[in-house]
């Protein structure tokens, strides 16, 4: 029989409902494999014993009407979990134990999911390689010393290595889609306002969204259905009619119009990305989609806009870490001295860099030149998409401008690191749903992803196109378990 840990979420649910397998057997399999995979450094905090206990409780009193009946799930360590340490990958939250639960994780437990553990990520989700985490690098299971992407790097690594059936990440500028692309997995960033931000450690509040990460498209649709909900506790949560994403999932996308934006053909893009994109266009045609050339003229301004808006919001959000109410405190001679030392010792280099940029662009005399300017350009970027969606139903682009790189390769050059998010950032700025699906490999056999971007609240079309193309692409990760002990 196929190993339990390599089954998809959909198959696990089917087996558990058919009583072929118990929740405890599933939990044991994932815990065992996770125990043997410490070299990947995916977990910051394990919840293994509790998970095994809860799985037994589920088996003693099962409810098969739930959407995730007795399924163990590890989540990014950016989601507050009641009474379980939540660090956001930062020293400043090293000892933080929330007294409340994030809405999206609560939605998962309400549907029968069981917490397996908390997964490593870039500090405060600021990074594209998981190298900024206080808890160290995460290994990409694809090859040794390769980054798993970021910021949801522990999440992407854990899904690709079969340490959890599915997971949830957060995506502010590409933090779900880029790591999915680097690990040959699927990652979906929903429309801004779909999934509640309540209880998620805040980075840039006008951009942050939680979303599913999984081995295939169907699994993401199942998990999205669970986590997407209107929530009064999030002032920007949107009350719209959500689909039953998994039961409405279809491969029939005949006649759907897919736009190809010429501005995504960036200078210096490797040939392999270009040819992957071309192949993707052919696959989309094979699926019955109509391909239409479109223009998103302000694309090249998205990244500079993002690097004003995101740090500005971050500097404001992270002002709360002052050593008084929670988190690390360093000793100081005065209150101000204590603040300054706490923040200096508690935050890592990348987080400090972004707080500094944010503080600068919001400081007196610079607000109009930077922050206001960026908000205006953000409007132009959004209008580009609005206009494109008069002609097309969705947009197809590469997910990233390169495959996964080596640990340490880009960590000393912030701008080259930021360029990783060139294709994903515009989607956050415009608040749109976007998915990355694995679509091929480069010359080193490292995975490459394609991104499908949809209209606001039209996750269903995004999922349907991805589901249809996934079948044609028929991508399989080639993972050798090199890290296993």
């Amino acid at each position: 029989m196929t190993e339990i840990t390599s089954l998809s979420l959909f198959e696990l649910i089917k087996n558990i409902k058919g009583k072929k397998i118990s929740s405890n057997e599933i939990a044991k399999s994932f815990v065992d494999r996770s125990e043997k995979s410490k070299k990947l450094n995916t977990y910051v905090t394990e919840n293994f014993e509790n998970c095994l206990k809860l799985s037994k409780e589920f088996d003693n009193n099962p409810n098969f009407d739930l959407k995730l009946p007795g399924i163990p799930i590890a989540v990014k360590d950016l989601f507050c979990t009641n009474e379980l340490r939540t660090t956001a990958g930062s020293n400043i939250l090293n000892n933080f134990v929330p007294t409340y639960e994030s809405t999206v994780t609560q939605n998962i437990w309400n549907e029968g999911g069981i917490l397996l553990g908390k997964l490593n990520c870039d500090e405060f989700a600021m990074g594209s390689s998981n190298e900024t985490s206080f808890f160290g690098n995460v290994q990409n299971p694809i090859a040794k010393d390769l980054v798993p992407g970021g910021s949801s790097g522990g999440s992407s690594s854990a899904v690709a290595a079969n340490l959890t059936p599915v997971t949830i990440g957060t995506d502010t500028g590409g933090s779900i889609r880029q790591p999915a692309s680097f690990t040959g997995t699927v990652g979906l960033k929903p429309t801004y306002g779909s999934c509640s931000r309540y209880g998620i450690v805040a980075f840039a509040s006008s951009l942050d969204q939680a979303g599913p990460m999984s081995k295939d498209v169907k699994d993401s649709s199942i998990l999205l259905e669970v986590i997407s909900s209107f929530d009064k506790k999030d002032s920007t949560s949107i009350d719209f009619k959500r689909n039953n994403y998994s039961s409405e999932l279809t491969r029939n996308i005949k006649g759907i119009k897919i736009g190809i934006p010429k501005e995504y053909r960036v200078d210096g893009m490797p040939d392999e990305i270009e040819s992957l994109w071309k192949k993707g266009i052919e696959y989309a045609k094979d699926c019955g989609a109509e391909i239409i050339d479109i223009s998103l003229p302000h694309t090249s301004y998205a990244l500079p806009t993002y690097y004003i808006v995101a740090p500005a919001e971050a500097s404001s959000n992270l002002a709360r870490y002052d050593g008084v109410k929670y988190g690390l405190r360093s000793s100081g001679e005065s209150l101000i001295d204590m603040y300054e030392k706490t923040r200096s010792e508690g935050f890592g280099e990348e987080v400090k860099r972004r707080i500094m940029i944010g503080t600068y662009v919001l400081s007196s005399g610079y607000y109009d030149a930077y922050y206001l300017k960026a908000q205006k350009v953000r409007q132009l970027i959004k209008q580009d998409f609005d206009q494109a969606y008069n002609k097309v139903d969705a947009i197809l682009t590469p997910s990233t401008p390169s495959s996964a790189f080596k640990i340490g390769e880009k960590s000393n050059d912030p701008v080259s690191m930021y360029l990783n998010d060139i294709f994903t950032v515009p989607v956050n700025l415009a608040g749109l749903p976007g998915i990355s699906i694995p679509a091929g490999t480069d010359k080193n056999n490292y995975p490459l992803g394609l991104q499908i971007i949809g209209k606001p609240f039209d996750e269903q079309t995004v999922l349907n196109i991805a589901y249809s193309m996934e079948e044609k692409i028929n991508y399989k990760n080639n993972i050798t378990d090199w890290w296993m002990e």
């Binding site: 004003i308 050593g323 209150l335």
Partner: protein
């Protein structure tokens, strides 16, 4: 435009992050390369563009002005690095 050491130190004061001299120099370099990249926005004329402040085009919701949580004082104090009965404790601020 160039961000000098003095500006970096001023910003670090505003951000309440203490900074060693050596790190301040590196940070000035990093910030300059990032701002060089950000300056690209100046190519665009935006006088007539409305700034986009929120992507969720909803008006903020009102709720009744009533207490909905129980007494959660203990929960709020639970993670504080230093507390004294019902208070957060900080270094002395009055001479």
């Amino acid at each position: 435009m160039s961000i000098d050491l003095k500006t970096v130190k001023h910003i670090s004061k505003l951000a309440r992050i203490s900074l060693e001299e050596k790190k301040a120099e590196k940070l000035a370099d990093d910030m300059n390369s990032i701002f060089e990249f950000i300056e690209k926005l100046n190519e665009l004329k935006t006088e007539d563009v409305e700034p986009l402040t929120s992507i969720a085009e909803t008006t903020l919701r009102f709720r009744e002005d009533k207490i909905t949580s129980d007494n959660i004082r203990e929960k709020i104090l639970k993670n504080s690095p230093e507390k004294n009965d019902d208070f957060f404790v900080v270094p002395k601020v009055v001479e």
